[in-house]
């Protein structure tokens, strides 16, 4: 599989796989390692080859650190920003609950024909956004895959 960083200035050719697009500008300002981000995306792709979109996003800034998508005209910046907002709002809602609700693990969004999942890293600084077709996998399987990758 080809992996192209945004700074490589390589043409986005499809050489036996979908290239991982890395948001290098966003990565420079984040504390998350590029190696880890790429590993997460590669492992998710390996276990769910039919996935529609997978992206690693920073919670605080909403920056998309890396993504792979099979959708034409997929805009990682917008999708990442909106989902980061979802995560932040949910974290705030949990913080506002009386008692100790615990850490946010994942958010599951079942649509009619698609499943969208958000799995927040243990440190709460970044999350993985995954979109799959409902006919390809089940909600539980996609969740287990993300759980096994992001520990």
């Amino acid at each position: 599989m080809g992996i192209y960083a945004a700074t490589d200035k390589l043409p986005a050719r499809r050489a036996g796989g979908t290239p991982i697009k890395v948001g290098s500008a966003a990565l420079d300002t984040s504390e998350i390692s590029l190696v880890k981000v790429k590993k997460v995306i590669k492992q998710t792709l390996a276990q769910l080859p039919a996935l529609t979109t997978v992206a690693v996003v920073e919670v605080a800034t909403g920056n998309c650190l890396a993504h792979v998508s099979r959708l034409r005209g997929f805009d990682p910046a917008t999708v990442a920003a909106h989902h980061a907002e979802t995560v932040r709002q949910q974290q705030q809602a949990l913080a506002a609950l009386p008692g100790r609700a615990g850490r946010l693990d994942d958010i599951l969004i079942p649509l009619r024909k698609q499943l969208h999942l958000i799995r927040v890293a243990r440190n709460g600084r970044w999350f993985v956004y995954l979109a799959v077709q409902a006919q390809d996998t089940s909600l539980a399987l996609a969740r287990e895959v993300l759980k096994s990758i992001i520990v």
């Binding site: 089940s138 909600l139 539980a140 399987l141 287990e144």
Partner: protein
């Protein structure tokens, strides 16, 4: 203990546990989502939720295989999987299935299957 005996699924898990106290793991699983409605494990190695997710794929693939073979009017009753030391059984009931893992040395396949058959009647 990941179930409540107030629900039909929880009752089934309790029922299977009462009949096979030495079982490794048991779960009642929704086929659409692959999520366990109720589950119990006696082994630290088997997470019944993980088993539920992956075994749902087994059921779905078999259903796909049957539709590809045009086996209309046929339904999967159960799926029996023999491992070196364990038996894994999947008993379908409507849109749900019961997943059961037992130790092959302790439990007879026929008994395990019979327990699932009688428990599945209470599921829907």
């Amino acid at each position: 203990m990941a179930y409540s005996t107030n629900s039909p699924a929880g009752k089934v898990v309790q029922d299977v546990l009462d009949n096979l106290p030495g079982l490794v793991a048991v779960a009642v699983v929704d086929i659409t989502s692959g999520m366990a409605l109720a589950s119990h494990s006696n082994s630290p190695n088997i997470n019944p939720e993980t088993a539920a997710a992956y075994n749902t794929e087994v059921v779905k693939q078999k259903q796909k295989a049957m539709s590809a073979l045009k086996l209309t009017g046929e339904n999967i009753e159960d799926i029996l999987i023999t491992l070196t030391n364990q038996l894994h059984l999947i008993k379908l009931a409507g849109n749900k299935f019961i997943y059961l893992a037992v130790n092959a040395r302790e439990t007879n396949l026929a008994i395990a299957r019979e327990v699932l058959r009688s428990s599945a009647e209470n599921l829907n």
